[in-house]
């Protein structure tokens, strides 16, 4: 009996695998989108700390980026995925001796990707901070804005415009790094493609499909960021 044709394998439904891979693509997108706000906020504050005059703040921020940019993503992931339950178990045993902890791979992936994304994004934010002349702060103070108001009304709008291309790059790296979480059994694109490949023995087909999914996501992101860049340019001061 000849095996199912490629088109059956790629169909949508119980015989095909397209629905599984599409579901995986949704998980990939969800993971990247869930990571993004945390990564951006942490990255911003790390860059902000590196901008301060207080040396201890700078030191703490520098240690952060050195550690999370220096460790391979996979090692960070394994450290958290296997280490966090151990640590939490120790803490929880004090209160409830027979509790066990299981770490959700989505949450572990989110934490690890936030750490990595934020350390890359902080470099982008830092160079954007440095591109803004000191006079902008002084001008803000001179017209009586508080520190916080100057940051929000004067610095941030310029910062976002300068940092955007770099952040887009970080986003693409994040999108690709989500594939690593498949290693700790999160059912995202690559994981589901791998299951399909193992069951049907059509490895090349399904891994190509996974590559295609990531390519399409990258293309969609660049279309979306193109829109954002254009709207930022429209809102910006025209000179």
């Amino acid at each position: 009996m000849p095996g199912p044709t490629i088109w059956t394998l790629l169909s949508w439904g119980p015989d095909g695998w397209s629905d599984d891979i599409a579901y995986g693509a949704l998980v990939t997108i969800a993971l990247a989108l869930a990571t993004l706000p945390f990564g951006l906020v942490i990255g911003f504050f790390v860059a902000f700390a590196k901008q301060q005059e207080e040396p201890s703040l700078r030191l703490a921020a520098n240690i952060y980026t050195t550690v999370f940019r220096g460790l391979p993503e996979l090692v960070t992931l394994f450290l958290f995925f296997f280490g966090m339950p151990l640590l939490l178990q120790h803490v929880i045993r004090w209160f409830n001796p027979d509790a066990t902890i299981d770490v959700n791979s989505f949450i572990a992936g989110m934490i690890v990707l936030s750490l990595i994304f934020s350390s890359y994004a902080s470099e982008v934010f830092l160079s954007a901070f440095r591109a803004i002349p000191k006079g902008q702060y002084e001008g803000g103070y001179a017209i009586g804005l508080s520190k916080w108001q100057t940051m929000r009304k004067v610095i941030l709008p310029q910062l976002v415009r300068i940092a955007f291309p770099g952040l887009e790059n970080c986003w693409l790296i994040l999108l690709k790094d989500t594939s690593l979480v498949s290693v700790v059994n999160l059912a995202e694109t690559l994981r589901n493609a791998g299951v399909a490949a193992r069951v049907t023995k059509h490895s090349f087909l399904f891994y190509s499909l996974a590559a295609l999914v990531f390519l399409v996501l990258a293309i969609l992101s660049s279309i979306a960021t193109g829109f954002i860049v254009r709207s930022l340019a429209r809102k910006g001061a025209t000179r």
Partner: protein, 273 residues
Amino acid sequence: MSVTETIVEPPPPQARGWSRARILGYALVGLWIIFGLGIVAYLVSAWNTDFFFRYAPAYLQGLGTTLSLVVVSMIAGAILSLPVTYGRMSKNGILSGLAYCYVYFFRGTPLLVQVYLVYYGVGSFRVELESVGLWWFFRDAFNCGVFAFALNTAAYQAEILRGAIESVPRGQWEGAASLGLHKLLTLRKVILPQALVVALRPYGNELVLMIKASAIVAIITVYDLMGNAKLAYAKSFDFQAYIWVAIVYLVMVEILRNGVEWIERRITVHLKR
């Protein structure tokens, strides 16, 4: 008493003591110190002479595998990046389109997918590969890793090289042409020496990225540094396996990063004003 003395007050003395930023900074540094001490304490408490002497040689051998994987694929990628750069910069639409697609594919998809595509995907064409006589190459996971990494880094290195060559002003080409140098000689004697200074830092970054990315090959059963850590953890269920490997990677990356910075400072001495 002159007027200026009454109007111009001396600047207020620098604020000493405990500002809010300083308290926060000290708290954060304190957290890092506690974190570091915690890891040291853990490693001391979990110290296991038997574990150390059983797995330290394996880690060393894994380190060798990691380094050889990175070095071989970096060199192969550098060679492969030359035609890709040529294609990217050529005025021929087909050639530049092909090169663009190559770069876009390898930069747009995760390295893990590419590694799987080579190891499992190409590996599934065993009969065809055997008939061409290439099966011996793709049978070995290490070779598959090198193959995927070389293709991947070639795409990145092509972009680095292109950016560096384009950063040299056009006048340099024109000046060399007016001296009667032909194109290849211009590239070798005039353009590349200037371009490579620009390219050094991105190349260093790429090397660091490759070392970090090389941990991936542990998943396709290559016993590199990470692969040996995985094996040690699977055998002993001792979490220090991963902590040791993290320390080794971190030290390696920091040494490389500082080394590249040092070289860059040395070769740009003549550009400092």
